[in-house]
């Protein structure tokens, strides 16, 4: 019995890019890019080393948060953020349902489909913060501009996912309801709604979550909410207040993520 033909060594074949030439080429390209990119960075190490002391103060502030001395501002910012989140989510959902139905290819005629899809594309391609800059310029500072921003962003998100969901809905059920002589509205009500409603509820809760997180950001450009309070605290170098605000944001996000996960599990 001989084992001489049996290979003694085995090397795992490459997984992603099999062709050796491509691997070499991509490797060289990546190296060249890294050298160029790192070469074009201008880092002021002196400034960084000064900053490390400040960073230490921030970490200390984070570990010993000060909830009390700016309590009024924090409560005000938080109530603006939370109310803005809820109202914008509700309004966004209400607007995104008709747009989502309009953007489903299997339910609507071609022109309506194109109009609704382009609304979605515009809303999705613009960043919240850029929309917020414009809306603050138009509607003035404060949570109302933030509310409009978040509602607008919600439309793109929810309408797209809803439309994709409707397009994937089982065709058999649509046809069955259609065969009973149902009108278009009855088809929406009896064939589409039962199929997409659980997912729509889940997505709405998820969006509520996202909207709260975004509401913490758009305050930086003047659209109200906890972000404005945070920005002020950092500008004043009050790192203990900033740490307190960040901890509150993290806690609310954790709680809302956990509860929305529970509700989604219960609905689906």
């Amino acid at each position: 019995m001989s084992t001489s033909n049996y290979p003694r060594h085995w090397k795992r074949p490459p997984q992603i890019i099999q062709h050796p030439g491509w691997r070499l080429g991509l490797g060289i390209a990546a190296m060249v890019y890294l050298v160029l990119a790192i070469g074009s960075l201008e880092i002021d190490w002196q400034r960084v080393s000064i900053g490390l002391e400040r960073g230490q103060r921030f970490v200390v502030g984070f570990l010993q948060p000060d909830f009390v001395s700016r309590q009024r501002d924090i409560v005000q910012g938080l109530s603006e953020s939370l109310t803005m989140t809820l109202t914008s989510t509700v309004v966004g959902i209400l607007i995104s349902i008709p747009i989502g139905i309009g953007a489903a290819r299997n339910l609507t005629p071609r022109p309506v489909y194109l109009v609704c899809r382009s609304i979605i594309a515009v809303s999705r391609s613009l960043q919240e913060i850029i929309i917020a800059i414009f809306l603050v310029a138009m509607f003035g500072f404060g949570p109302f501009a933030g509310f409009l921003t978040l509602a607008f962003a919600t439309i793109g998100f929810l309408a797209k996912l809803l439309a994709d969901d409707i397009e994937e809905a089982s065709h058999a059920q649509l046809e069955a309801i259609h065969a009973t002589g149902a009108s278009w509205w009855q088809m929406i009500n009896y064939a589409v709604e039962p199929q997409v409603l659980p997912r729509l509820i889940g997505l709405s809760l998820y969006r509520l979550d996202i909207n709260f997180r975004e509401s913490a950001v758009i305050g930086i450009v003047g659209a109200g909410g906890i972000g404005a309070t945070l920005n002020t605290a950092i500008d004043r170098y009050e790192y203990d207040s900033a740490g307190a605000i960040l901890l509150i944001i993290i806690a609310i996000v954790m709680v809302s993520e956990y509860t929305s996960g529970l509700v989604r599990k219960w609905v689906q």
Binding site: V48, Q127, I133
Partner: protein, 270 residues
């Protein structure tokens, strides 16, 4: 029992009790909405809101046509923005891998001690937006590209680690056991059992995050963290609306291209 006049009297979807509860729930939601609306708008100056269409028309008329001559000046900031996104993703991914292995139930050294810490890192990183990270880092290490890169990296940890640890928990245990049964050490199990199962997901997640990071790095300049956002901030401050239009068009083009690239790569890998 009376003869039913119509079939609708025979069948109802929900019991009266459930129906009542549903109505109560909707009523509570509407009441909450109205209350929130009143709290939110108590400081709103309605004159500004009514004035908005006129303001919009005014800004709109100033924004067109975009100033095409500004384009060459934007190329250097655009290169910076791409670098922030790419190097930030790289740094974030490198830090996310160990966190993901510590957070996954089947690879963590201790479910009671290490896993909660790893999960807390993930939640912290995910719940703070990259713009807020940048705001903090600009205050700490000064304005510039480095603050942007670190902000993107810190934000990416949570995203990448969360998706990766879910992928690790879904790996096929039989393959891992088979490798372990050959007498492989821990590193070898990692290399020959986990890696082949995780590599496609890992590459997909990284490219996906890179695409998101391109989007986010375009605005980091608003708080001073370098890139094309700095130009946007400068143009907004002097109300140079034609330049703003130009920058927004460039951002839009970059985002569309990066989305296309990432979709192509992901389709090739997965």
């Amino acid at each position: 029992m009376n003869e039913p006049q119509h079939y609708s009297q025979l069948w109802q979807w929900r019991t009266p009790r459930v129906q009542l509860l549903l109505w109560a729930g909707w009523l509570a939601l509407v009441a909450l909405f109205v209350w929130c609306w009143q709290v939110m708008t108590q400081d709103t100056i309605w004159a500004f809101v009514l004035d908005a269409p006129a303001q919009a028309a005014d800004i709109g008329s100033r924004m067109v046509p975009p100033r095409w001559g500004y384009l060459p000046e934007l190329m250097a900031p655009l290169w910076d923005t791409l670098n922030i996104a790419t190097l930030g993703t790289l740094g974030g991914v490198i830090m996310a891998v160990p966190v993901a292995f510590l957070a996954a139930r089947n690879t963590t050294p201790s479910v009671a001690l290490v896993r909660p810490v790893a999960l807390f890192i993930i939640v912290t990183s995910r719940s703070i937006n990259s713009l807020i990270w940048a705001l903090l880092l600009v205050a700490v290490i000064g304005p510039g590209l480095l603050a942007g890169i670190v902000a993107i990296a810190l934000r990416s940890i949570g995203f990448v680690a969360k998706l990766l640890y879910e992928a690790i928990e879904e790996t096929d245990a039989r393959q891992i056991e088979a490798i372990a049964a050959t007498g492989a050490g821990r590193a070898q199990v990692l290399n020959y059992a986990y890696l082949p199962q995780l590599l496609p997901a890992f590459c997909g997640i990284s490219v996906f995050r890179w695409d998101i990071n391109i989007r986010e790095s375009t605005i980091l300049g608003l708080v001073g963290a370098g890139g094309i956002g700095l130009k946007l901030q400068a143009s907004l401050n002097v109300l140079a609306w034609p330049q703003v239009t130009m920058i927004l068009l460039l951002i839009l083009g970059t985002v569309v291209i990066s989305e296309w690239v990432s979709a192509r790569i992901r389709r090739a890998i997965i």
